[in-house]
Symmetry: C2
Subunit: 458 residues, 2 copies
């Protein structure tokens, strides 16, 4: 070979036909559920103005944003001193006005502000598009990956929170998961807990420590809290809250007791109780709904409900998460719009379905029938059948040229085509075609009519 | 407002929910036809290594490729002299290893070479993804736009060409077009014409001139040919070929006569005739198939069949095109793989459907029913109906909080929701809910059962 073997940039992936069928299955399922709940799709451009993205994800985030070089003679107007100093950051500002989408949330906020006069609020939007991060690639972490988000802005109703729970339940049930948990918490409860021990200023330290309960156990959490300046008295008060036991109703009752002096804490309990009330009227199909006050993900961001979804069938991180945030659009100057949203972790869901063997065997996205082709005569004979099957919406191929049957069977096998029709001399004479079920290996002689009828039934 | 109004980079677009429904309709229709013909979807990364893309689209093309800045301290190792000289091109090579996909063809070629050992040939793939070009934006020309391609590699059978014609016919018929033409030509015929007047070396000049027949008429074409050094005698021989008349069979007969001395020209006629033969056995639904020897698009690229699709209902450029090319993968060192492919112009098809009012009124992608919400009592009463409708796969929303009916009706109107259910005090007492058809304005009193039954029928 003359040239070097071509490759893709590190952290990016090609998706093969087989992978695309599976990925489409996941995305189509989730999208159909989003739509069922009244969420509408939008798409935003891959490139945003750098000014839209920079400064929205913290200093670390800024570094991970891929910047796009200006076109033309982009160096012409750059300050010479900056070039000589090789100041990569300040030169980047001068030579790249555009950057790749880092998540779907900031572009959505930009969208809402830009189109506020065309939007009917509450605005329920979903978005399934790739994002790019210049992270160090590692197992399960890519530089290009799809996000799959649904958000509502302009409604503070807790019905939205309840519906997010139903969306998770319905989508993951449809995907075949049989045992998963939707954990719910509320930022106001976390505030209440901090308030109850008079440590409101240390809420971050508190929640960061509690969040690790699963990993480091109670002793680890206590050790960390002591290191952060919490007292033994604080910890005595915290223990029953951290170790909250019982079902959701019992947990809520204990919490109300512990947070009796905290207005905001009780407000958080009220909100959770309202959400549980909605769910009682619309029972979930599969999900276990669990109040989990150790859940804190993205605390600085969320202001009300916090969600996280985990499968109990496979050892895997969270496969979804979200919550309520105030002031999504404030960064673009539109104040007072509250929002709430969730996200599905598509790559992880893919791995879960793969591990549990939950991808459906057949798919309407693949070829159903291959008609074999041995010579010109058979080819011409087969064309009307080919067209008839397609008119009946059966994905059908005629092998494009005469070839040995072994090669054509391999083609069918490699493409996972379930049925093969053989049209040889005998078949053309009698009109009885050989119809082979590739899975069972069973062959029958059928007329064209019978083949059409049989496949239409499938 | 505190900040400047946010915007998207020039030449890029947001797609609103209403636009997404229409775009999905187009893409889903085309994809379903690709699949019906055995084409399989792949996706390639947004970013390719610059070395994969540069040099593949000519010098002008290279300039239009968006380059992505390397992450980290990208200036550290750049040659000082280059920086001081402000040599934008050579510095770009040093500071950007990655670039945005410019079309789907080169990444596909890269894919085929990279994955050649996993691929079963003939490999029929389709791909629907955005591409980016730093073109000057203008009406109908964007810097980010979707391409929609199907290609087969590893088969020189003309059945593929015939199936591309059927794909165009089926997809555009499904989209509701009632009068469109699929023009077909063959590079070999163009070669034959040049050979017939002994001007094989001037084939580019010849075809560029002939290609303009539509726009500048015969006199214009002759003028251009004379300017390019063709003789009056050449033109006398060319005229009957350029002005070829009659149906396809008659045109082919005349061509065979004119090209009787050109082996390659006759080969081109044979190929077209074979394709027509396939189509005769699988009659087209709507398309007019026209042999058009003035068709030359991308001549340097195509080696056999050349296609172009035009609607006759709206004045619009081509809405599709393609052809056969040899040696797609040669640029990446894999020789001898022949290919053929077509492309749909999704943005133009969108404009055509819009102008002809061909987008379907309803869509399973939008909400079917809005249940109004006036107060807590009605809200709780409505939840079981909400869940029931959704379980029946009817996209349903409950307005998330109590609000005035006017506001909720506006919400339904703006989201194009066809049905509204009103649950007020009377309704709860009698169990007869007010069901309003938003299009006709007709209201009926129906039980929840009747509403479910009615919507299931739709």
């Amino acid at each position: 070979m003359a040239s070097i073997k071509p490759s893709v940039p590190k952290g990016t992936r090609d998706f093969s036909p087989a992978e695309m069928v599976k990925r489409n299955y996941i995305f189509d399922t989730i999208k159909s559920v989003f739509r069922k709940y009244g969420y509408q799709q939008i798409e935003t451009p891959t490139m945003e103005n750098s000014s839209t993205l920079m400064g929205k994800y913290g200093e670390e985030g800024d570094k991970l944003i891929f910047k796009v070089l200006n076109s033309g003679d982009y160096l012409a107007k750059v300050d010479e001193q900056k070039l000589i100093e090789r100041n990569s950051n300040s030169v980047a500002v001068a030579i790249s006005e555009k950057a790749l989408r880092y998540d779907l949330t900031v572009p959505f906020a930009r969208y809402v502000v830009q189109h506020q006069n065309e939007i009917t609020f509450p605005f329920k939007r979903f978005q399934v598009q790739p994002v790019w991060r210049a992270d160090r690639p590692q197992r399960g972490r890519y530089r290009e990956f799809y996000q799959c988000d649904a958000d509502v802005v302009g409604s503070d109703s807790l019905l939205n929170e309840a519906e997010f729970i139903m969306i998770y339940d319905e989508a993951l049930t449809k995907l075949g998961l049989k045992d998963f948990s939707i954990k719910i918490n509320n930022r106001k409860i976390l505030s209440g807990i901090a308030q109850a021990i008079d440590k409101s200023d240390n809420i971050i330290d508190l929640t960061v420590a509690i969040d690790k309960l699963d990993k480091i156990g109670l002793d680890g959490v206590i050790k960390e809290l002591l290191e952060k300046g919490f007292t033994d008295a604080d910890i005595d008060k915290l223990k029953p809250v951290i170790l909250l036991e019982g079902n959701n109703t019992e947990k809520l009752a204990s919490l109300r007791e512990a947070l009796a002096q905290s207005e905001i804490g009780l407000k958080g309990c009220d909100e959770i109780e309202t959400v549980f009330g909605y769910i009682e009227r619309c029972p979930l199909q599969t999900a276990k709904l669990e109040l989990d006050i150790t859940l804190a993900r993205g605390l600085n961001y969320y202001t009300g409900a916090i969600f996280e979804v985990k499968t109990n069938e496979v050892n895997m991180g969270s496969i979804g998460g979200g919550g309520r945030y105030d002031d999504l659009t404030g960064m673009f100057g539109l104040k007072g719009l509250t929002g709430a949203g969730i996200s599905f972790g598509a790559d992880r869901i893919y791995d879960v379905l793969e591990e549990l063997n939950l991808f459906p065997a057949g798919s309407n996205q693949t070829t159903q029938v291959l008609i074999c082709n041995f010579d010109k005569e058979g080819e011409l004979y087969s064309l009307p059948l080919l067209q008839r099957l397609r008119r009946n919406n059966i994905n059908t191929e005629l092998y494009p040229a005469g070839a040995k049957i072994k090669k054509q069977m391999e083609y069918a096998n490699n493409k996972n085509i379930p049925y093969v029709v053989v049209v040889g001399g005998d078949e053309m004479q009698t009109g009885l075609l050989t119809f082979k079920d590739m899975a069972s290996g069973v062959q029958e002689k059928l007329t064209a009519d019978e083949i059409v009828a049989k496949l239409n039934r499938d």
